[in-house]
Amino acid sequence: MRLGVLFSGGKDSTHALHLAAQKEEVACLITVISKNKESFMFHTPNIDVTAFQAQALGLPLVSVQTEGKKEEELADLERAIAEAKSKHQIEGVVTGAVESVYQASRVQRICSKLDLWQFNPLWKTDQKALLQTLLQQQFHVIISGVFAYPLDEKWLGKKIDSQMIAQLVELQGKYGISPSGEGGEIETTVLDAPMFKQRIEVTDSAVEWKGDSGVYVIKQARLVPK
């Protein structure tokens, strides 16, 4: 089955891509670039890096822009999926949804309308186990946004390692933070993964901090051999 993966460049969509490619044929990545930094549907920090990631993966990227207004962005997502269907003959769409019924059901409705299969291979997976799997499989994932107390600027740009997973699990106990950022507490960017033919090296970056949240902005990057 030819599939398009709804791809934000973060750990969950990259992980879902990895699982989908083990079972079916991934024909393209689909990215929605939202101008709204508080989008309900779409991951926003470093979304432009998806072009680099697609190149590193050797997969075509279908990318559309959205203003990011709450339900209008769904029309833009539908446009992106329809474009992927016509350009790359996909028969189904894969997402990295783990817990969000909000996201999963909206993507499902679009796929039903477009007569496409829909898969969520990470659905209901234990969040700590998800992070550990990424480490075991040598995903290089950095924190590209933090949006919840007590996460601060020190976390930004850091690679997820076993020590960080332990800290996140501890914060879950104390503050109710979801270790994998399922509640939007953390956003991530993947710089390398098993399917990447090249890895991404960040050559210029900046931390932008406002109030009690911030993002790690990748200003320049390049692809380097693995």
Binding site: Q108, S112, F119, K124
Partner: protein, 181 residues
């Protein structure tokens, strides 16, 4: 030993972690269980299991309906069975009831129609289905509904249940109660 039947279109499919694994995460800490794909399950092995759960499938997957002969054992099986979504549709079809079109995706309010061992009152649940059923023969009672359609059924004399919604998503307590039957 609990049997979980993988109802997806093929064994070890991309849908396994979405429709089978979440059920296992709820029941494995409570009871030993085994998964069999519906195409490999033989009626002769059913004696080994105390309870059977039939999983759901993705919205476009109706392959199970082309293999109803694989589920004829449901007519004579006396132990507890829970069919989830595709599983409920299979139970209904094996017992000769028609399916009715009723597409629904997302959270929905479920209202209990008849007292039963799995749930009570009104509650929210995750729906992901194209078809429902209106039991009209003597075998089943409708035991819950949403504003759209019948959401759960129970055999009148056997511990055979069907739920159209997905209890493994937001109502795991229903799976736990099923294991106590």
């Amino acid at each position: 030993m609990i049997l979980v039947v993988d109802m997806n279109w093929k064994k070890d499919s991309l849908a396994y972690t979405e429709f089978v694994s979440p059920i296992l995460r709820v029941i494995e800490p409570l009871e030993a269980c085994r998964v069999r794909h519906f195409l490999e399950l033989e009626p002769s092995e059913l004696d080994r299991y105390s309870h059977v759960i039939l999983s759901g499938t993705t919205l476009k997957d109706f392959s199970f309906l082309n293999h109803l002969e694989r589920f004829q054992w449901l007519k004579s099986f006396g132990k507890p069975v829970l069919g989830i979504c595709a599983g409920m549709q299979t139970i209904i079809q094996v017992y000769g009831e028609p399916l009715t079109a009723c597409p629904q995706v997302g959270m929905t309010e479920i209202t209990t129609l008849k007292e039963n061992a799995l749930f009570s009152g009104t509650f929210q649940a995750y729906a992901l289905h194209t078809y429902s059923a209106k039991p009209n023969n003597q075998a089943f009672d409708a035991i819950a509904e949403s504003s759209h359609c019948i959401q759960a059924i129970k055999h009148k004399t056997k511990p055979i249940y069907g739920v159209l919604f997905h209890p493994e998503v937001r109502n795991q307590d229903i799976l736990q109660r099923f294991l106590r039957l």
